[in-house]
């Protein structure tokens, strides 16, 4: 029982990080039909922004703020205006291909210009153990879980309880009507990209102490976020959160109780079952499109 609780908490922590990344994925899809296959690299990169700032002597907390700010500019504004806007005019497929190319570019750029070696990344709190119902839980897992939950609550509050959030939702649900009613649709879409950049940067700060900062991190994280979004429902933020949590817990429990060699296969098995039984995802809704 103690080891189960331990695995559950650490799975929840990993899942909460996957959820953050997956939420960004679904937000971009909902507001601008952008499928960002560079999402994993968007999580890998901020860790290096932070390390660069620290190399210049900035303290960790300041480096995190700098990392988030640079992420907003590079992964939010620049990504939207330099890649998404010109490509989306030609359809979703060219944009998908461009985002795959961007993922490769970012990965190779970090490898060539920073390092191909995994870099140690500062932890948010000093490592210590907390005892809960006989289980030994690392304080790091609890902090990761707390920060991720706080971020999701903050984002949910923004989307559901503020005027800005309501306008962003309106833009995602019916841009034509939103435009007629006076909602600045283009600006709302930009805000979504900025929000995605912030979510990616926070996920990066949370996951890099565990995975270390490495140029290949995006491969695993991007795939996990993509699977989480599909399992939970690509068109629902709460679906992405659920998908991320399921994936994180499943990953940990399957590695411990079933087979660590096949741990990567279990999320794919769940994905296949979900697609066969409920193709719109666990919390997703069926969408109709006229082509």
């Amino acid at each position: 029982m103690a080891s189960f609780i331990q695995l559950l908490v650490s799975g929840l922590a990993t899942g909460a990080i996957y959820a953050l990344i997956a939420v960004g994925f679904t937000l971009l899809w909902q507001t601008s039909q952008t499928i960002n296959f560079a999402q994993g690299e968007f999580v890998m990169l901020p860790a290096f922004f932070i390390l660069i700032a620290m190399n210049y002597g900035a303290p960790f907390w300041l480096s995190c703020l700098i990392g988030i700010a640079v992420s907003i500019v590079v992964l939010g504004i620049a990504f939207k205006y330099i890649i998404v806007d010109p490509m989306l005019k030609h359809g979703v497929l060219p944009l998908v291909i461009s985002s795959i190319a961007l993922a490769l570019f970012l990965k190779e750029a970090v490898k060539d210009f920073y390092s191909s070696q995994a870099q140690p990344f500062p932890v948010l709190v000093e490592a210590s153990d907390v005892h809960i119902f006989g289980a030994v839980i690392s304080s790091q897992s609890l902090v990761v879980l707390a920060v991720a939950i706080a971020t999701v609550i903050g984002m949910t509050f923004l989307l559901n309880r503020t005027r800005l959030g309501r306008m962003m939702q309106a833009t995602a649900q019916n841009p034509t009507l939103a435009r007629i009613l006076g909602v600045p649709v283009r600006r709302m879409v930009l805000y979504t990209f900025l929000l995605n950049a912030v979510l990616c940067a926070i996920a990066s700060i949370l996951i890099s102490p565990i995975y270390l900062a490495k140029f290949t991190n995006g491969e695993t994280l991007g795939m996990a976020a993509f699977l989480a979004a599909i399992i939970g429902g690509f068109n629902q933020v709460r679906g992405a959160i659920l998908g991320g949590v399921i994936l994180g817990i499943l990953d940990n429990l399957s590695a411990a109780y079933l087979s660590s060699q096949y741990r990567a296969a279990f999320p794919l098995i769940i994905l296949i079952i979900v697609i066969l039984v409920r193709p719109q995802g666990l919390l997703g809704r069926v969408e109709e499109r006229t082509v």
Partner: protein, 205 residues
């Protein structure tokens, strides 16, 4: 009475097809004007040109004496022109109340004020009034996408009135609505017109 809307020799072509060909009319304050024509005769295109969703090929549109050619839909909306849609347009994942608040021009302000301002933008009481007026109280918290077609049609109409418009363009308000719901909608529109002296342009077959 002054003219709220003046349309002069309006023309709209799509390539070789002329959808609207030299239409002229004016609507005075408090008046109800009906535009009747078969499917495909360009009625909705006319509305789209008036509201800035399409730019006319030729001709002129004036709202309260101001030429609106070239203006964006949101700017024309802010002049006090709103519309309903032939093909229903609501925000399906927002509640009826939130749909109305959005339609009430709550989008004004800066990013900062939108973040820290009241979440209902001060439009909550007006939305509740409109909910009551259109008899939507029992479904006020329901997601718009979950409503029946007739209920969505009522919501669509209520949204058009939320910002207290000078002029409302009603695009086939009776289309696809059952007789009971239609009687309810007609009665509500008549009541609104009598109460607020609103100006309507109505498209029907």
């Amino acid at each position: 009475m002054s003219a709220v809307l003046e349309v002069s020799n309006l023309r709209k072509s799509f390539g070789g097809i002329t959808a609207v060909d030299g239409v002229s009319f004016e609507v005075r304050d408090g008046e109800i004007l009906g535009i009747i024509g078969p499917n495909g005769s360009g009625k909705s295109t006319l509305f789209n040109c008036v509201l800035g969703q399409l730019q006319p090929t030729d001709g002129e549109v004036k709202v309260d004496g101001k030429v609106t050619n070239g203006m964006r839909p949101r700017d024309i909306n802010r002049l006090g022109v709103s519309r309903t849609f032939q093909l229903l347009q609501v925000f399906p994942q927002l509640s009826v109340r939130d749909n109305l608040i959005l339609a009430g021009q709550e989008h004004q302000g800066t990013m900062f004020t939108r973040l820290i301002g009241r979440s209902d933008a001060g439009l909550g009481p007006a939305a509740d009034q409109m909910i009551e007026f259109f008899r939507l109280s029992h479904i006020a918290t329901e997601m718009a996408g979950m409503l029946s077609y007739g209920q969505q049609k009522l919501l669509d109409a209520a949204m058009a009135f939320m910002a207290g418009p000078r002029l409302v363009l009603l695009d086939e308000p009776a289309g696809g609505v059952n007789l009971t719901m239609l009687a309810n909608l007609r009665e509500r529109l008549q009541a609104y017109h009598a109460e607020r002296k609103a100006t309507f342009v109505v498209i029907e077959h």
